[in-house]
């Protein structure tokens, strides 16, 4: 009872202050802030049409490096939390029941298309909405689809580790090349090209592709870890 009271008390205090503070912030009005600078400068300096991409990958690229690391750490941490020694004679865990044929064929057709979509999204990240994170997540969805529909579909952890590491190293090395060629870490050292051109934006495109591969492999790894490490015990319970 006391706990309920406390919860309601906390909720009302937090709610009151949130409403009070945020409704003082005008909605839908133009404000004077750094965002204006980015909008004006990103098509001129970087030749990138998508201002959000310009911010995420270049102006605040360091955040993105950190963000990719967070995902990497989540994948690593998940592996460590769910770690189980393989017992002798233990078979590779599989889905309990095979999916219906419709789902199998459907996912067979969808799989390459989703991969293609994901690739398109992250390659065109600097031109249109989307980018490494979105594209990577879409690709991870594709492998998820295969995991669900095929018993025998197995994700090769070796490959995932390689893709993940190489993509991460490419991102960080581009930063170091910037440090050597330019003056600062992650500096855009390639020519910017033309606005709305696929090869515009200098290193932005390359970084987003690396991010795409990294995010895709990490998310796939996360799902695979959660899915695989639990099947045997789940079966035991039934």
């Amino acid at each position: 009872m006391i706990k309920q009271f406390f919860v309601i008390l906390i909720l009302s205090i937090v709610g009151y202050f949130l409403v009070d503070a945020f409704f003082k912030v005008p909605f839908g009005e133009k404000r004077n802030n750094v965002g204006n600078y980015y909008i004006e400068k990103s098509p001129v300096d970087l030749k990138v049409s998508n201002a959000v991409t310009a911010i995420v990958v270049n102006y605040r690229g360091f955040d993105t490096l950190g963000e990719v690391t967070v995902l990497f750490l989540a994948a690593t941490g998940l592996g460590s939390i769910m770690y189980r020694r393989k017992q002798k004679g233990e078979k590779e865990a599989r889905a309990k029941n095979p999916s219906s044929r419709i789902i199998q064929i459907g996912s067979q057709i969808l799989f390459p298309m989703i991969i293609l979509l994901g690739g398109y999204v992250f390659i065109h990240g600097h031109l249109s909405p989307g980018g490494g994170f979105q594209g990577g997540a879409i690709i991870a969805t594709a492998s998820l689809l295969m995991l669900i529909s095929y018993r025998k579909f197995k994700i090769n952890h070796n490959t995932i580790t390689w893709i993940e590491s190489i993509a991460g190293v490419v991102f960080a090395s581009l930063g170091f090349v910037g440090l050597v060629l330019g003056r600062t870490f992650l500096e855009n050292f390639l020519p910017s090209g033309e606005l709305n051109d696929l090869l515009s934006g200098g290193i932005i495109g390359i970084i987003y592709i690396a991010v795409g591969f990294k995010v895709a492999s990490e998310l796939t790894g996360v799902i695979d870890t959660v899915l695989l490490n639990n099947r045997p015990e789940a079966q035991k319970e039934n």
Partner: protein, 496 residues
């Protein structure tokens, strides 16, 4: 390649991405690489600290070629540089300690442990070095995610429970900080800390208050302030021993840094300082009294750690030059002393499952070296004269006496007596009781011994000759309190 502060972040990240690959080549490489990285970072700490101290400047490093406030920047000033150097060097010592710790852990797990271990240190370093408030949040999350995973590292303990508790409260903390960042952005339109500080006087006082409270609670959770510190004793107890040392030495310090940076640099609200003193005193008093009642070694150390953090916050809250000096000195001392206590205490209760104080009865005869260092650390942390802890407490008491805060002095003295009681109780058990438990003892490996010895030597050296470090701390204090020069040097960087 020129040595620059970005190495503190970028090199460990690169190494973390490479460890899974190198781990395939040779299983020992995964353990060696973090040590090499931390050794290199310790080296560049020396070089960079020398550079800024001798030339009397602040290094502001631009990232991605956009000068502040448009890009992210790293600030290596005497204060942040001092903390970053401390983290790297302490990190290297703890790495030495972990090298042969628990050899029975599987290789795949060891590899993950070292990735998370290195990123925990990098996250804490990033929090300290960054000059951008959202970037600080990202590093906070890097620290947090590694910390959650490391807390749950051992399957045989209740790590998952402690980690879940930590995660729950850590998410609240990051939500509050994110809300504060958002409100701040609507008010000042920038995320660069120097420009925020510059524009702060124009902000509506009500909004200022709301933002400050959000930051205060958010970072207060990370800094283990009362009453939001219920998670930390469990985390210290359940995490692997060396990780406890990292939590006490770095993660909490990074939380305190966030709190202090927000209060001292971002905001111009002096009214918050008495609140810091009050919260710090309550934290200290409550934690030390609870520590007195603990029957488990690591829990006792954890509560003692919370108490010491309260002391640090009190010292910052007094707000004079002398007290801030004492506060930074306390942070340094606490990092090395509590680090050593965790490292040696871990071996005292190595094979015990419950890790109660009964397990250390009479252990002085069997593990003479470790017990001696533990006793030395205990003496140092309660503030006995020939050790490092003495000076920081003395400076704090003198600073408090200067501003006539007699209540603060009284509470600090009472709390010190409590500390003496419970630490001496442990020493008494170690040396003057007969060993009753039958648990097999673990002799520390050579590198663990040398790691502890290094910290012990620093403790004694600083205790005998405090001028070793006080010059640096003096510069750090001046730097922290000089807000104008911080703003000036960050915002003028890159201008021709």
């Amino acid at each position: 390649m020129v040595i620059s502060p970005v190495h503190y972040i970028a090199l460990p990240l690169m190494a973390a991405f490479l460890i899974p690959l190198f781990g395939k080549l040779n299983k020992d490489l995964a353990r060696i690489i973090p040590g090499l990285v931390l050794l290199y970072l310790s080296y560049i700490s020396v070089v960079l600290m020398n550079q800024i101290i001798s030339s009397n400047t602040i290094i502001v490093e631009i990232i991605a070629g956009w000068r502040p406030p448009w890009g992210i920047n790293l600030v290596f000033s005497p204060f942040t540089g001092f903390l970053a150097s401390m983290f790297s060097m302490l990190g290297f010592v703890i790495w030495m300690y972990t090298y042969n710790f628990k050899p029975e852990v599987d290789n795949a797990q060891k590899q993950k442990f070292y990735v998370l271990f290195m990123m925990l240190i990098t996250g804490a370093t990033g929090i300290v070095l960054t000059g951008d408030i959202f970037n600080l949040f990202v590093f906070l999350e890097i620290t947090a995610i590694s910390a959650y995973s490391l807390t749950a590292f051992y399957r045989e303990r209740d790590g998952a429970e402690a980690a879940f508790k930590y995660l729950l409260i850590g998410s609240f903390s990051s939500t509050l900080i994110l809300l504060a960042i958002l409100l701040l952005y609507t008010q000042v339109g920038t995320l660069n800390m120097a420009e925020i500080a510059l524009k702060m006087p124009a902000v509506d006082p009500y909004m200022k208050g709301v933002i400050l409270i959000l930051f205060f609670v958010g970072f207060g959770i990370e800094a283990e302030m009362f009453p939001l510190n219920g998670w930390s004793p469990d985390v210290y107890t359940q995490a692997p021993g060396p990780i406890g040392a990292i939590f006490a030495g770095m993660v909490v310090k990074a939380g305190i840094y966030g709190l202090i940076r927000v209060v001292f640099t971002l905001f111009d609200v002096k009214e918050i300082l008495p609140l810091l003193v009050i919260i710090g005193m309550i934290t200290m008093a409550v934690a030390e009294v609870i520590a007195l009642r603990q029957g488990k070694l690591k829990r006792m150390l954890a509560y003692s750690s919370i108490g010491q953090m309260g002391l640090v916050v009190v010292a910052f809250g007094i707000g004079t030059h002398e007290s801030v000096f004492a506060a930074i000195f306390l942070m340094f001392n606490h990092a090395i002393i509590k680090g050593m206590l965790f490292l040696s205490g871990t071996y005292l209760v190595y094979n015990s499952t419950e890790k109660t104080l009964d397990d250390v009865d009479g252990i002085g005869k069997y593990l003479p070296f470790t017990s001696f260092l533990f006793a030395l650390g205990s003496l140092a942390i309660v503030g006995m004269p020939p050790f490092a802890g003495f000076w920081s407490k003395l400076y704090l008491l003198m600073a408090a006496a200067d501003v006539r805060l007699m209540a603060v002095i009284a509470i600090i003295l009472v709390v010190s007596v409590i500390e003496i009681v419970y630490y001496f109780r442990v020493i008494h058990r170690i040396y003057f009781r007969e060993r009753t438990s039958t648990i097999e003892l673990k002799i520390p490996s050579f590198n663990a011994k040398s790691a502890m010895l290094i910290l012990a030597i620093i403790i004694v050296a600083v205790g005998v000759y405090p001028d070793l470090i006080s010059g640096l701390i003096e510069r750090a204090t001046t730097d922290l309190l000089d807000k104008q020069s911080y703003i000036q040097s960050v915002l003028s960087v890159g201008l021709k």
